[in-house]
Structure formats: structure tokens, C-alpha cells
Point group: C2
Chain length 344, copies 2
């Protein structure tokens, strides 16, 4: 029986969307239970209207503080002891829940998760990893913003963690790994990624294919795209922006006249399928990978569908025992490095 | 009367697409002349079949070497003295042409252009700048790959150059400028962009609006997006990849059944307009900004339409006397900095 802690106050549409998400999640994962942390005045009335069988799956713990979007990570870790986010994280440390999901302030959430969960032994920095839709299906991408700058060792560890994540979430035997660069030739890029590539090339247990470029992300050239948090965050948000632009232009095109509206009626089936396939809400749920417990970040602007998907990622991650596999893989990697004399 | 030097051997589809581009460019810019550098065996026969009035506009100079896509910049600057790319650049230095266009090896082209054209006084590093389509129209983005890492002074100079470029190419009075970051709050990002932001905030003659994020690129939040060459290159290529993915999915959707094909017949008008509006070939032509002469880079995989557009960018840049305006703006900026005591 899994129990997931939910920060009901994080995100633009909280707490309404969190309660909506619980209802959806309970249908898909009927054996999972939830502990909900948030403002009683806002949540109490909505909670009381829930069907009684749902209520049974939800334990509500009132909290009085909220870590807003403008709170600095440094401030978040010093105070806010009765905030929904802190209490949700703490409930995992205390063994009341196995994982936590929040759509709140990313920097604060990462800082509090790191401080309370600690990094997996031999991991120096956790990363933010997520699935992104591609021409071929989906790829794992990390880091998406936890580490503004990275050294070669960080990138190598991200590659190992991303590979394990892709194995279990995408069901791949030996996920291909690419390092994001500005050219596929070995001579391109800065020293940190060249050094990371050198180490990864010698790792027999990883399927490292070399450097990939920005357009390889959507192409699905590799299963795991590894990059520093600055580049990864910019690339992911750039992709989201272009996707939104296309979606808007497509809608405008179909709505531009009665003729195009009629055209849409005829052509809508594959377009609705396409819309669903690329729906960002169905890719909601980034994992703070490299920590001893499962912390999932839902998109700040998400709704009930997206947050429910993020809950699904938490459940999936726990059921697959991702952390145990990461530790095992890192140990294998470290042993291999000891043998070939490479320090990561 | 303008004369443009063309590297006929650069790019995947050279020299055929260059000759095709000349024909298109001559129609749009009837008073412009061209000097074409390339392999006589490949170009001679095609050139002789051109209409005689076109031939008049084209001077052909045979060259024997080609700087291929795998040639390192360091090797390109040491040899290749009879290559089409080097000779085209040299013809500008010698005053035979006013600007050069190539779709060849970017690194070699930038290195040769820097070495032969030199940077504009007070510019420490040139950048690669281009127009990108957005929800609102188009924005200028730089650097797209000339400088893998940048200091704050580089980014400030890119902002000044990008602003001048946007003024003349987009016809804006006071283009808004944003620094690409992983959050819009002042506390986010690394020290280099924080320092650049601090300097830009004090520059009264620039319309600096602060940090922007990846999704602001497609939104068109600012007229000029400033970033280092690594991030800019990844972001631009990521955007291109997502755009291509959407274009493919849209085509597949319309082609999936006779019903959707019929739907397309009815709805095609705005979709064809959209296709044209986002056609990457119509945004082909990146400028090596900050050099004493005009060097335009066309996309390596471009065709005649794209290369003709890049020729148009060269002509436009020369007619607008972009370099003269950049020098004037930089001087103003330097004076202002002397007054407020900021070193860029």
C-alpha cells in the first residue's frame, strides 16, 4: 500500500486542482492513499463534498503557511516550518508517506527536498528529470534547472541516473544517452562536456552515443539527453514555447473561416489524437533524481489532469524502486571507474 | 551599386542551390552584382546555361579548394588559400565586394571572417545573430554559437549590437532587450548574466527589460534575446526541431485518411499561409555581427530559396549601414559608461 504526501497549496491553481487530481488519481490508482497538507479554510469545504470512499483514501493535515513563488530557497529552508510544502516533505522523512508531489516554488522545493532527503550515496548533486515527447515517442531529459553550472562528474552522474530512469519508465534495455552540445563533432563545446564525454565513452555499462544537438531533442535521436540545469531549463522552456505557438497557430488556422471550420470537422480525428499525444499535462511530473526519497515536481501552471499525472509518476517511481536501481547502477559504475582508473 | 561575394561550395546542396539563389536574388535585387567563387568543373556548365542578362551580373572566379564541414577552424585559418570560402572573404577585404555569403562550415567561416575582417573597434567578440519567427512577428537572437562561453562584457556588447540590428532590420525605434535566463527573478541564473543585467539596467539608451525565459522566445516577449553562444545555439536548434516535429505531425494528420485530405482541401488556405510564415528558409541568413565587414551565414542544409534570402540579408545589412550604426551606438554606450562609472 503506497501513501503519497501532497502539497495542496503549490501551483497557480492550488488547492482546487490538487483536489481534482486526487479524484482522478484515486480512480487510476485505487490502492494508493494520500496525505494532503494545506489551508483548512480553503480545503475543508471542498474535501467534505468528496464522495465518502474518496475521503477514506485521503488524510488531511491542516497547515498555516504557504511558500509562495517568490520565496528564495535560502529563506524556505530557514523558516516555513508549518508550510504545506515543508510538512509534506517532512511526512516522507518521518515514514508517514513514501513520496511527495508539489506544484509549488521549484527552487524552494528542491532545496527543502535536498536538505531533508539528502542525496543518494555517491551522488554529489541531484537533478530534475522529466519525460519529453519526441517524434519517436518520449525521451528522458536532465538536468532541467537544479544545477545552474555542472562539472564533468555531475554530468556523468546525470547520465547514469537518466539511463536508469529511462530503463524503468520507458521500459528500455539499454537506453541510448547523448550529451547536449552545439555540434556533434568531438572538437565542439566547452571543456566540461568534453571531459564528461571522455568518461562516458569508457563506461561499458552505459550506451553513450556521443554529442547531440538541440534539434535532436524533438527528433528523439537518443533516449536520454544529458545537460546542465541552465541549458536544460532553457531548452525545455524553448520547446514548450514553440509547441504552444504551433498549437495557437493551428487553432487560429482552423477557426479562420466557415470553410476551415468545416475542414476541421472532417480532419479533426487525427488532430485530436495529436493534441492528446503532445498534451503537456500528460508529461507533467518531473522527478528530483538522486535523492533518497521520491519528490515529484508538477508544473506551476498545471491543472487537475497534470497534477494527477505527476502523482502517477510518483507512484510509478516508487513501484519501480527507482532509487534502489540508481544506487546499484552507480555502484557498478564506480567499480568500473576504479578498474579503468577514471574518477567521476 | 552593391557587389556580394558568394562562396559557391559551402552547404549540403552547393553549388546548385547557390546558382539557383543567384537567379532568384537577381530578380529581387536587380542592381546587385555577384562574384562567385567555386569549382569550375561543377559551376562552369551551369553558369553557361544562365540567361545572358544574369551572366552580366555574375563574375565567376574559379577556386580549387573546398573547406569541408569537418575542417577545424584552426586548420581553416592556416591553409585553404585557394578555397572558395577564403577567396570570397578576401575579395571583401580587397574591396572587390562589399559583403560575403556562405552556407559552409560555420566555425571555419567565423574564424576566417574574424581574422580577415577584424572586430569593430571596442567589440571584443563578434556574435552570430539572426531573426526568429515568434507569435508577434520576429525577434533578433544572439549569440547563436560564435562564443561557447561569454563574460558579462560580451553579453552587454551583444545587447547593444542586437538592439541596433533590430532597429534597422525590424524597423523599431527602441527595441526591447531580454537576457535569456532560467527564471525572471533577479536571484536566478549564474553570476555572468547577473552582472550583465546590472550593467544593462543602468544603460539609459538601451531598452533592457530584464531576464526572459526559454518560452519567451516564441512568445515574442522581447525584440532582442541576448545569450551566450552555447545556450543560444541549443535554444535555436531545439526550436527548429520542435517546429519540424509539428510540421511533420500536421502533415501526417492531414494525410491520414480521405476524410482528412478533404478537410485539408477546405482548410488549406490559412495552413499554407502559416507554412509560409514559419518557413525557415525565409529566416535564413545569420549575420556575424561585430565585424568590420558584412559576413552572412546561410543554413548548411539550405536550398536556393534560403540562400537567396541570406543574400537579401547581406544587401539589407549593407544598405542600412549596420556597422556604422553599431559603432555609433557602442561609442554612445561607452561614453555613458564612462559617465556612470561602469566598465563593459
Amino acid at each position: 500500500m503506497l501513501k503519497i504526501a501532497l502539497d495542496a497549496m503549490g501551483g497557480d491553481n492550488a488547492p482546487g486542482m490538487v483536489l481534482e487530481a486526487i479524484q482522478k488519481a484515486c480512480q487510476i490508482h485505487p490502492t494508493t492513499e494520500f496525505i494532503l497538507f494545506g489551508d483548512e479554510r480553503l480545503i475543508g469545504p471542498q474535501l467534505s463534498q468528496m464522495p465518502s470512499q474518496l475521503k477514506k483514501a485521503v488524510e488531511f493535515i491542516p497547515t498555516t503557511e504557504v511558500i509562495g513563488p517568490d520565496v528564495k530557497p535560502s529563506a524556505a529552508v530557514r523558516g516555513y516550518r508549518n508550510s504545506s510544502m515543508y510538512r509534506a516533505i517532512k511526512s516522507v522523512v518521518d515514514g508517514q508517506a513514501q513520496g511527495v508531489v508539489s506544484a509549488g516554488n521549484t527552487g524552494a522545493y528542491m532545496a527543502l527536498s535536498m536538505l531533508n532527503f539528502k542525496t543518494v550515496a555517491s551522488i554529489s548533486r541531484p537533478a530534475i528529470a522529466t519525460l519529453i515527447p519526441t517524434m519517436k515517442g518520449a525521451s528522458v531529459m536532465l538536468d532541467l534547472g537544479a544545477n545552474v553550472s555542472c562539472d564533468a562528474g555531475n554530468l556523468v552522474q546525470f547520465a547514469v541516473m537518466g539511463s536508469v530512469f529511462a530503463k524503468f519508465v520507458l521500459g528500455l534495455q539499454k537506453p541510448s544517452i547523448g550529451l547536449l552540445n552545439i555540434g556533434s563533432e568531438d572538437l565542439k563545446g566547452h571543456d566540461v562536456i568534453k571531459e564528461a564525454a571522455r568518461i562516458l565513452k569508457e563506461a561499458d555499462n552505459l550506451n553513450f552515443v556521443g554529442f547531440v544537438e538541440g534539434d535532436d531533442i524533438a527528433k528523439g535521436t537518443v533516449d536520454v539527453i544529458v545537460t546542465d540545469g541552465f541549458t536544460g531549463n532553457v531548452a525545455l522552456k524553448t520547446a514548450e514555447g514553440v509547441a504552444r505557438m504551433f498549437a495557437t497557430f493551428m487553432r487560429q488556422s482552423f477557426e479562420s473561416s466557415w470553410l476551415t471550420k468545416l475542414g476541421y470537422l472532417l480532419a479533426r480525428k487525427p488532430f485530436l489524437e495529436l493534441k492528446q499525444r503532445l498534451d503537456p499535462r500528460l508529461h507533467d511530473g518531473a522527478i528530483f533524481i538522486g535523492l533518497n526519497h521520491v519528490a515529484i515536481k508538477s508544473h506551476g501552471g498545471t491543472d487537475g489532469v497534470g497534477f494527477a499525472n505527476a502523482i502517477g509518476v510518483a507512484i510509478n517511481t516508487l513501484q519501480n524502486q527507482l532509487n534502489r536501481h540508481i544506487v546499484a547502477e552507480l555502484n557498478r559504475f564506480t567499480e568500473m571507474n576504479d578498474i579503468i582508473g577514471v574518477s567521476s
